[in-house]
Amino acid sequence: MKVMAYIPESSRLQVATGAFILLSVALLSMIGPHLTPDPSTQNLSSVFADPSSEYLLGSDHLGRSVAARLVRGGANSLFNTLLCVIGSVLIGVFLGLFSGWYGGFIDATIMRLVDITMSFPGILLALLIAGLIGGGQIAVVGALTITGWPDYCRITRAITQNVKSRPYVEAGVLAGFSGRFILRKYIFIEILPQIAVLATLGFGRTILNISSLGFLGIGLAPPEPEWGAMIAESLPYLRQSPYLVLAPAAAVSITVFSFLLVGQPLARALKK
């Protein structure tokens, strides 16, 4: 594969492992919900059940299937994360292009905005927005999108400025090539790999933030499962069945870890 050529030999195994886990997680959360029972169905006669053919990974304090909640929670988390990352990338790249291409007052304003956003604790802002609105998917995704864009904006701005100052691009501008042509021909090609790597790492961070918000009780409406919220729900039963907490905890950690496994060597390779 072409991508693999850029990765140093020593970390190829690491990237491949990470990618494999990510694919498995994605597949499980796409197919899993169709194979498991409804994650919200309570069965108070079989709470804290051990793993069986009916409850693949046992049941929680309300007799709901842990396996079903885990895969459904994964699907929810991944989907919301995807929305956040797409939103952040769109906002970031758009503002970054503007900032880098036009410079001057527009640039100064956008960079101030970046500074302020970056100095803001992301979870706290999300808490504020989501908590006051009353939680829910839109609040969480919106809040994390608002706090997530500055990284993409900064890299896009830097590349745009760099490309713009190259002699052949300056010549192109003088020769009357349209801005859109230059954008497509020179800038996007350079931005794409950088953004892809940042987005990989951003994916991991966003999953962490979403699960933190879920843990704090701000996220999807209650019966709908989510990894962070599952941990919070099962926390009172930590002593009797730590497993109920550890399963979603492992799911979050392994997923985020895999994003780092893939993203970090790529980021290092791009820096060189």
């Binding site: 927005i129 933190s212 843990f215 962070g228």
Partner: protein, 318 residues
């Protein structure tokens, strides 16, 4: 000392911006979205059973919630400038007192976490930096990625499971003795150490590759002397800068960890106030966080100025 003034000005700007954004946002959002604030306060104060129409109206007039939103907002801003943050809508305590009480706890927790993270990250990072690319360094890279990937609340839960439930060494939650501090501080500290050990390692690698470092060896100084005299100070500059950049990240962790361990700090106060729609408290806490942000970043910059003579007058670099 124009440089110091410039630094303070920049950070003050950011801090006030953060504070005002929190304050304004909480005000706008709460008033534009759901429900009747007076009703919610009544429920929060007296419980659902005792709440009736008359009580709600009484609270509305008491708290001046019947006035226009614009007046309410400008009144709060005006008071804020005279350091009068108002009273909590729920407990009726002075917001300033509430903030001070919770801020103390957050301060203790953060300082303890910072110390723990330094105790872990410094030796770990320095060792990796001295033997880069070795198997210990490679494994350390994976371990710190893994620690970064584990959410704070999971680290905390694992520590509770191991130290409180299995070994019964430490209390699970609360804030009565210094023993209660260990678990939350360790949780935050481990997360911080995972990041900073890598930054320390990179800084050490960079400094050891620098020409002046090799020259110090050529001078005939012993390796330890070279590391102490020429390595540590230069390597600490990027590390401290990094810690400054991580302030926002640290505050995120504080909210989660305080909630998990029922530690009565600013993070828990904010979460509870948001859930109870106690706007004056949220606004006050927002301002306080802005101030904390200014304080941390300004002191990081000042430390860097002390460490790095080039930054004392940036004109002279050229």
């Amino acid at each position: 000392m124009g440089e110091i003034a410039r630094i303070l000005r920049t950070h003050l700007f950011h801090g006030v911006a953060v504070g005002l954004v929190v304050a304004s946002l909480s005000f706008v959002v709460v008033n534009l979205t759901r429900g009747d604030t007076a009703l919610e306060i009544a429920i929060a104060r007296h419980g659902t059973a005792l709440t009736n129409e008359a009580l709600v109206e009484q609270i509305r007039i008491e708290e001046k919630l019947d006035q226009s939103l614009w007046i309410q907002y400008t009144r709060w801003i005006g008071h804020a400038f005279t350091f009068d943050l108002g009273r909590s809508l729920v407990s009726k305590e002075k917001v300033a007192d509430l903030l001070w009480y919770h801020f103390r706890h957050t301060l203790v927790l953060s300082v303890a976490a910072m110390l723990i993270s330094l105790v872990i990250a410094l030796p770990w990072g320095i060792f990796c930096g001295i033997f880069p690319g070795g198997s210990f360094d490679n494994i350390s890279g994976l371990v710190s990625s893994a620690l970064v990937a584990v959410p704070h609340f999971v680290t905390g839960i694992l520590l509770i499971l191991a130290l409180s439930i299995k070994l019964q060494w430490l209390p699970v939650a609360g804030f009565f003795t210094s023993r209660h501090l260990i678990l939350p501080a360790a949780t935050l500290g481990i997360g911080l150490a995972a990041f900073s050990s890598r930054v320390v390692a990179t800084a050490i690698v960079d400094v050891r590759g620098a020409l002046f470092y090799q020259f110090a060896r050529m001078k005939g100084l012993a390796e330890a002397r070279v590391l102490l005299g020429h390595g540590i100070k230069n390597a600490s500059i990027p590390v401290i800068t990094f810690i400054g950049l991580q302030t926002a990240h640290l505050l995120d962790g504080v909210v989660v960890v305080e909630t998990l361990f029922a530690w009565p700090g600013i993070g828990k106060l904010i979460l509870d106030s948001i859930l109870a729609r106690d706007i004056p408290v949220v606004q006050g806490a927002g301002l306080l966080i802005g101030l904390m942000y200014v304080a941390v970043n300004a002191s990081v910059d000042l430390i860097c100025i002390v460490l790095d003579p080039c930054r004392r007058d940036p004109e002279a670099i050229r």
